[in-house]
């Protein structure tokens, strides 16, 4: 069954300005640094970061949203840069693994990854780190002062695959870092 209501009057029905399909200037702010790239609208944020900004931390694993190696933040959200269009990030803050260390100091999560041996080949690591810090911020590693639940950490890290299966070490590193964040 459907119900009908008349269209609201006075709404603008003009089309928004169209850009592309050829290359267009796209301003991006990545790790607080402004870039302007000449790219087609179809270019993913992952390609723009790697090939346009020279930030090769985010990795291309599957290019179809299944592995998490390309995880970055757009504003506070952890997202897959392979399924995000760069042009859709205009006006939003992008943070990559290169933006995690501050003033030459590693982020506590990076230090705990090293201390707990949370990687082998390292290919998935940038994505793991970006997910891990976001996970703590989202409250899935226990409230401050509380012990983290390893099962909860695993579930909320399930979007990041690791072919070297460093999973137990990853969970331990995240639980340790959560206490210091």
């Amino acid at each position: 069954m459907t119900t009908h209501k008349p269209a609201a009057r006075g709404q603008a029905a003009t089309a928004p300005p169209e850009r592309g399909p050829g290359p267009v200037p796209v301003p991006l702010i990545v790790n607080d640094v402004p870039y302007t790239l000449d790219i087609e609208p179809r270019v993913s944020l992952l390609s723009a970061l790697r090939d346009g900004c020279g930030l090769t931390g985010a990795k291309r694993g599957c290019d179809q949203g299944t592995c998490g190696a390309c995880t970055v933040w757009v504003e506070e959200r952890r997202v897959l840069s392979c399924l995000t269009l760069a042009i859709a990030c205009e006006g939003r803050r992008v943070t990559t693994v290169e933006g995690l260390a501050q003033g030459g100091e590693l982020h506590p999560m990076q230090e705990e990854f090293i201390a707990h041996d949370a990687f082998q080949c390292g290919y998935c690591t940038p994505g793991q780190l970006m997910s891990a810090v976001a996970l703590v911020r989202e409250g899935h590693a226990g409230a401050p002062g509380e012990e983290a639940d390893p099962a909860e950490i695993s579930e909320w890290m399930s979007g990041n695959l690791c072919r070297c299966a460093a999973y137990p070490h990853l969970t331990a590193a995240i639980a340790a870092a959560a206490k210091r964040m």
Binding site: G65, I87, A88, G159
Partner: protein, 332 residues
């Protein structure tokens, strides 16, 4: 991925006008289906209208005591919302058991309902597939169909509807609100996601350029005792082989209210109305649950590869009802 043009809309009517005017136009919300399938050449739009800035995110109570969930609300935000968790735990569970944290932080509630099937022949962009290229045949019928549907199938398509959210919404008689050039309208969820029949390429009644603006979930007091059970090949981050969304209310050991919908087994989210009829007023006992599940699955049409789903679904229904019957909140 083929070239596309891009525009970011600032008002709903403007977005509708832009897509409606161009047969190659489509909306871009979270992009987790759209970008994926454009890159695989399964979708072939050449103009994307980004609706990410439209004021259609957020959750509010309706005067009738239900919830109105804006189409652009992210799956993660809807799942975390206190009103959703308190009144409709099955929606929060269905959301959090779907996809991955990153995908849920990108994907929107409206986009979720319009996600495409995960059938490998549909997604490979070359195999015969009636859904992608009408009239070319269905490769899954004689192919690998372990994950395919056993209910609501036709001789033209047997792909399973992939959304978890839609299963919970089906149990709750949700409505989908839309905007098109001619104005607003709304659909009952049962009339929104269509079985394949002779036209598997038509998945919903939307006109080209019609925009989903909100999902409305009516007040459902029994939903406070509800569950979404999802059974899949791995512990997390996987589509359902079988899922059950259920609410249950008992009075003096008898069932005074029940809602039941199945996921992972049908071409649409499957409201289990036969089972509901048998359960209502009956004693809350495992034998009754079992009989109701069997009745619902009696019309299942299986292949040698997916025959296991009928038994899996039967067990899942019984397990959910037993669990709900044992929770104290379900007793009046």
């Amino acid at each position: 991925m083929r070239p596309v043009s891009y525009a970011r809309a600032t008002a709903p009517a403007e977005a509708v006008a832009a897509v409606a005017a161009d047969p190659g136009g489509a909306y871009l919300a979270g992009g987790t289906t759209a970008v994926d399938l454009l890159r695989q050449n399964v979708l072939r739009h050449d103009r994307l209208v980004d609706i990410g800035d439209l004021p259609l995110a957020g959750i509010e109570e309706t005067p009738a005591g239900g919830l109105r969930i804006g189409a652009l609300t992210r799956m993660s935000d809807a799942a975390a919302h206190p009103l959703v968790r308190e009144r409709f735990p099955l929606i929060a569970e269905a959301l959090e058991l779907g996809a991955s944290p990153q995908l849920r932080a990108m994907a929107t509630m409206g986009g979720n309902l319009l996600q495409r099937v995960r059938c490998a022949y549909y997604r490979d962009a070359v195999s015969p597939c009636n859904k992608r290229e009408p009239g070319t045949g269905c490769s899954a019928l004689g192919g690998i169909n372990r994950g395919h549907a056993i209910l609501g199938t036709s001789e033209h398509c047997i792909a399973t509807h992939p959304s978890d959210l839609a299963v919970a919404l089906t149990a709750l008689d949700a409505r989908v609100h839309t905007l098109r050039g001619a104005g607003e309208r709304s659909f009952h969820i049962d009339d929104f996601l269509l079985p394949p029949g002779d036209t598997p390429h038509i998945e919903n009644p939307l006109e080209h350029g019609e925009l989903i603006t909100a999902i409305e979930v009516p007040d459902t007091p029994t939903a406070r005792t509800s569950r979404y059970l999802k059974i899949r090949d791995r512990a997390s981050y996987e589509f359902a082989l079988t899922a059950v969304a259920a609410t249950l209310r008992l009075e003096n050991g008898r069932i005074s209210g029940v809602r039941l919908a199945l996921g992972g087994v049908a071409t649409t989210p499957w409201r289990a109305r036969h089972a509901e009829r048998l359960l209502l007023g009956a004693a809350a006992e495992p034998g009754v649950f079992d009989e109701a599940a069997r009745a619902e699955l009696a019309e299942a049409r299986t292949t040698p590869m997916n025959a296991f789903k009928a038994e899996l679904a039967r067990r899942a229904v019984v397990r959910v009802l037993r669990t709900l019957a044992a929770t104290p909140e379900g007793q009046a």
